[in-house]
């Protein structure tokens, strides 16, 4: 199992009292799977993604990535895990505004020690894949929302991670652009055999997924699409 959650709970501190968000969640996800998380706003979708992505730590339970227990990792090790194994796509794109499109893609590669001509070629290929080869030297604020999200997708995949986590990647886009973006993300991940876990409200996305997990009252209910 590539991703395994065992009795994972998460609660937040609210006015001195624990506010439970996830309660004893068990999930198994295999390599290359496309899993969609659905649920009402505030149900814990983003929290679950953050836990899988080693961005946050559970209050109880354990998360295994490729058999490695994340709970045993310190922040340094978690950062290295994110750097090598994971890619993120956020609702608000979260590109670095002061780096060009190409440099935004180069950043994860450099972090993984990939520099020079090979890294530049990889960036060019990725930009061509997402249809933005001619935007390489532009800054994020010179792009449309859809273009920015395509750059974000390219950045999440450029360093060839094993897992991509996407938190409502279409939440800030119009329907047509959202359709293009989801199609692109699905294609790229499937072509590369990358596991994709996505939190979304979009019915269209649910139709593309291998599996849908619904979060309700802190528990996960599994359903086939």
């Amino acid at each position: 199992m590539q991703i395994a959650l065992r009795q994972v709970s998460k609660s937040y501190d609210a006015a001195g009292r624990g506010l439970p968000v996830l309660d004893g969640v068990d999930i198994d996800i295999v390599q290359g799977e496309f899993v969609v998380l659905v649920g009402r706003s505030g149900s814990g979708k983003s929290t679950l993604l953050n836990l899988i992505g080693a961005i946050d730590v559970p209050t109880a339970g354990e998360i295994f990535i490729d058999g490695v227990a994340c709970g045993a990792l310190d922040e340094q090790a978690r950062a290295l895990l994110r750097r090598r194994q994971l890619g993120f796509v956020f609702q608000f794109f979260n590109l670095i505004p002061t780096l060009t499109v190409a440099e935004n893609l180069l950043l994860p590669l450099e972090l993984n020690g990939r520099t020079g001509a090979a890294a530049s070629a990889r960036v060019s290929d990725m930009l061509a894949e997402v249809g933005l080869a001619d935007r390489a030297d532009r800054f994020p604020d010179e792009l449309s929302g859809g273009e920015q999200q395509r750059v974000a997708i390219a950045r999440a995949i450029v360093h060839e991670p094993r897992i991509v986590l996407a938190d409502e990647p279409t939440g800030n886009l119009d329907l047509e652009t959202a359709h293009d973006v989801i199609g692109l993300l699905d294609r790229l991940c499937r072509d590369a055999g990358v596991t994709l876990v996505m939190a979304t409200h979009s019915r269209e996305v649910i139709g593309l997924a291998d599996r849908v997990l619904t979060i309700r009252a802190g528990r996960v209910i599994e359903a086939r699409p």
Binding site: N50, Q76, R82, F88, N94, L99, E110
Partner: protein
């Protein structure tokens, strides 16, 4: 809605206590420095005025001798022959009390029976004073109550007093009550009968002056019959002389404190700008909900004023504490610079009111631009960060043009041909204002230059560092400007002090030519001692190893514009030791040698507008004598002015054979140690001489120099401290605003150490940019201080010395401040829960 918005603003501040605290500290420190300096200045000034008023009393005129004293028979003649009855003889002499060694006292010898028209302290009607005992028993004094309390003395008790170079025992004949306003000042004065004062000071048959209350007709009569070696001077000019003399010094301090306030104001502006930027989304939202621009402007301004009020209150309290520390520094510096003793008095409440108004005014001025910016914020949907930055960039050319115009104006002001110090400071503040406008425009250029090396050193993160600084110009511009201004101020003052120090060192090397210097001990009047009489000089010349002597008589002569120092010199083997800065040096020395000409110090030439070739009239024993001014020499020993003439000429015109100091030159190859021992014996035998080698004298002079600049150094570092808190506030806000961006970097794999490095690199880059911009600005400020402010304030010129070390120190300071300020956000961002960072708006 505006009330709710105001509430939202309050809560925003309360939720960001760090920023709130730093904003308050910025305001408080700015106000505290101004109030502290103002308190010290006012306290010293009022001390001088009250002292002068106490000593001068109701006198309209003073009769003084050109030699510094008058025969006491003149007083009797005045009353008897001229019928002037509102006159009182006075002996005013510095004395020391072994029981209170830390301060100087003044002995005021008066005739109680003549005092009534002049002063109230020692008159037959003043309380229950035993004036008969005071007048009939030798060695009796009257003490003001504060001094009696301090010495633990009461009527009939005795204590030691050093006057005329001798320690003597005196008896307390009375204690006088002093009103509260003059309590501190009166604590430094001892009263005695004139005959007792003559005995104590050794001025038998002589007095210091006669205080007079004259009608214009009486004044005219007295002037017409006064002997040539006696001058009738207006009393006010003499009493006010020290107040006037110290005015330049006090204006300097005030200006420096205002510089701290200007830096403080800029920091308030920076803080408020950051607050406005951080709340941009909230402001956009309430604009969308319908709040008007005017409401928004009003609320933002009111919020700033509330902040200003709290900061100002803190500043007043801090200023009060700072003031007491600065007062002693100011008094000590005045004592070093002007040889004038004074006592601090309780300052007026008006200073606190002024400080409060300044604090609130500065906050209001600083808040105007951010409040206008807030009011102009479009509704949320229209406002993007990119648009904000674009707007900032579009304003840069306008700012730069404004800066150039202000710089041209400041240059014009500085070039105005005037001696006004206020105009000089207006020019200096103009330079600061021009810099404040130009720096934001310069910042992206400097960053661009640093971008390539940053990328070369740090790779993509390095480029990210430089780009982030350039891209957030709406914030970094303000932070860099604040830090650059503060650094330039600290650097400019530092360069000025270093230049001054270097010039003083050179001047000392040129002036102190003799290998050993013998001077009359403090408190020994020139006429009191035989130590430097002709036979003693002959003995000195005959000592083994002596190549020659330089002889000097330093005396003070009264003029209508205050006392003037005459330095009459018979130069030694190495010449006059003067650096002539105006006039032909060789011709000036030749003329001096002839005895018909004098050279005058720069400060005297400037203050009295005397040029080379002019005739300078001095009151001599035989009446006024005009001397040709052969040159102007550089002199840092006193800004009151000095005249150098040949000793022979002085002796001839002033009929004064005394000497005050002798320089002893060591013969080539002679044993310096042996001569030193011989001179030590000579000084010890005389009992009235102090001996110092050239190096010792030089070291003492440099120590005094450093001491006089302690207050400037304190203000310099206070300005630096204000700046540090400001930059801390700015950088904290800047980095916290990047929380989400940093969160993304961490999400894609930056480890905490890399985040820390990145944040520190970003703040350091800003520090470096500020330091690089501050370098030329600091030199310009130092130039203005050296060539304009100092010349006008003190009258002396100096050469500006710009050392690489001085410049580097400024860059290091800016870098250090930015580095220190970046530590907290770096650690916080690296440790902040990542999920929270990504949620951050």
């Amino acid at each position: 809605m505006s009330r709710l918005f105001a509430r939202a603003g309050r809560r925003f501040l309360l939720r960001h206590p760090g920023q709130l605290g730093l904003a308050l500290v910025g305001i408080a420190l700015g106000v505290a420095v101004v109030v502290g300096v103002d308190l010290a200045n006012d306290s010293a000034r009022r001390g001088f005025e009250l002292s002068a008023a106490l000593v001068t009393g109701r006198a309209t005129h003073q009769l003084v001798g050109v030699s510094g004293t008058l025969p006491d028979a003149m007083y009797a003649r005045l009353r008897r022959e001229l019928g002037i009855h509102r006159a009182a003889p006075v002996i005013e002499a510095p004395v020391r009390l072994p029981a209170a060694p830390d301060r100087a006292f003044t002995l005021l010898g008066v005739d109680p029976l003549a005092e009534a028209p002049l002063r109230d302290e020692v008159t037959p009607g003043a309380g229950e004073l035993d004036l008969v005992r005071l007048q009939t028993v030798p060695g009796t004094v009257i003490l003001p109550q504060p001094l009696a309390d301090r010495l633990g003395a009461k009527i009939g008790s005795h204590f030691e007093l050093v006057a005329g170079g001798r320690e003597q025992r005196v008896e307390v004949a009375g204690v006088i009550e002093v009103d509260r306003a003059r309590r501190e000042v009166a604590g430094a004065i001892l009263f005695a009968d004139i005959a007792t004062a003559q005995e104590l000071t050794g001025m038998i048959g002589r007095i210091t002056r006669i205080d007079l209350v004259l009608s214009p007709a009486e004044a005219a009569l007295l002037e017409s019959v006064a002997p040539p070696d006696v001058l009738l001077l207006p009393a006010e000019s003499q009493g006010q002389a020290i107040v006037e003399m110290t005015r330049a010094f006090r204006i300097n301090l005030t200006a420096l404190s205002f510089l701290a306030l200007v830096v403080g104001t800029f920091l308030i502006y920076a803080t408020l700008s950051f607050l406005a930027v951080r709340r941009r989304q909230t402001i956009g939202t309430v604009r969308a909900l319908g709040i008007t621009r005017r409401q928004l402007f009003g609320v933002t301004l009111a919020e700033a004023l509330a902040l200003g009020a709290v900061g100002t209150a803190m500043g007043l309290l801090l200023g009060h504490l700072l003031g007491s520390g600065l007062t002693s520094l100011v008094l000590r510096t005045i004592e070093d610079l002007y040889y004038a003793q004074s006592t601090a008095v309780r300052p007026g409440v008006s200073i606190y009111i002024k400080g409060a108004l300044l604090g609130l005014g500065a906050t209001l001025i600083a808040a105007l631009a951010p409040a206008l910016a807030a009011a102009r914020t479009p509704p949320r949907a229209l406002q993007s960060r990119a648009a904000l930055e674009r707007g900032t960039r579009q304003r840069l050319p306008t700012l730069a043009i404004g800066g150039a115009v202000v710089a041209a104006g400041a240059t014009a002001i500085l070039m105005v041909d005037t001696q006004s110090l206020i105009v000089a400071f207006a020019g200096l503040f103009g330079v600061v204002a021009a810099a404040a406008l130009l720096i934001p425009a310069l910042t992206p250029w400097v960053i661009r230059v640093l971008q390539a090396p940053a990328a070369w050193i740090g790779g993509l993160p390095g480029r990210l560092t430089a780009r982030a600084a350039a891209a957030s110009l709406s914030r970094t511009g303000v932070a860099v400007t604040a830090l650059a201004l503060a650094t330039a101020t600290v650097m400019g003052i530092g360069l000025m002090i270093a230049s001054f120090r270097g010039n003083v060192a050179d001047w000392l090397d040129q002036t102190l030519q003799a290998d050993f210097h013998l001077r009359l001990a403090p408190g020994v009047a020139d006429g009191d001692s035989d130590a430097l009489r002709p036979d003693a000089i002959a003995t000195l010349r005959g000592l083994p190893g002596v190549a020659g002597l330089s002889l000097a008589r330093w005396s003070r002569i009264p003029t209508a514009d205050g006392w003037l120092q005459i330095r009459a010199i018979e130069p030694g083997p190495d010449g006059w030791g003067l650096r002539i800065v105006d006039g032909d040096p060789d011709a000036a020395r030749t003329s001096l040698q002839s005895g018909d000409a004098v050279v005058i110090s720069e400060s005297l030439a400037r203050r009295r507008e005397i040029a080379v070739g002019d005739s300078f009239v001095l009151p001599a024993a035989s009446g006024p004598i005009g001397f040709e001014v052969a040159g102007v020499f550089r002199d840092y020993s006193s800004d009151r002015g000095a005249v150098v003439m040949r000793l022979g000429a002085y002796r001839h015109h002033w009929q004064d054979e005394n000497l005050s100091r002798v320089g002893v030159y060591l013969a080539p190859g002679a044993d310096a140690g042996a001569l030193r021992r011989a001179l030590d014996r000579f000084a010890a035998d005389s009992g009235h001489l102090n001996l110092a080698a050239r190096a010792e004298l030089r070291a003492t002079a440099m120590r005094i120099f450093d001491r006089t600049f302690t207050i400037t150094e304190v203000l310099r570092w206070l300005a630096g401290l204000v700046a540090f808190f400001g930059i801390l506030s700015s950088l904290l806000a800047l980095e916290l605003e990047r929380t989400r961006e940093v969160g993304v970097l961490r999400a894609i794999g930056f480890v905490p150490a890399q985040i820390r490095t990145l944040v520190i690199a970003q703040t350091s880059l800003l520090g470096l940019v500020a330091g690089l911009i501050a370098m030329p600005l600091g030199v310009v400020l130092a130039g203005v201080l050296v060539y304009v402010v100092n010349e006008r304030a003190f009258g002396w010129s100096m050469d500006l010395a710009v050392s690489p070390a001085g410049l580097a120190a400024g860059v290091v300071m800016a870098l250090g401040a930015a580095l220190a300020a970046g530590m907290a956000p770096a650690w916080r961002l690296a440790r902040m829960p990542l999920a929270a960072a990504l949620r951050e708006e």
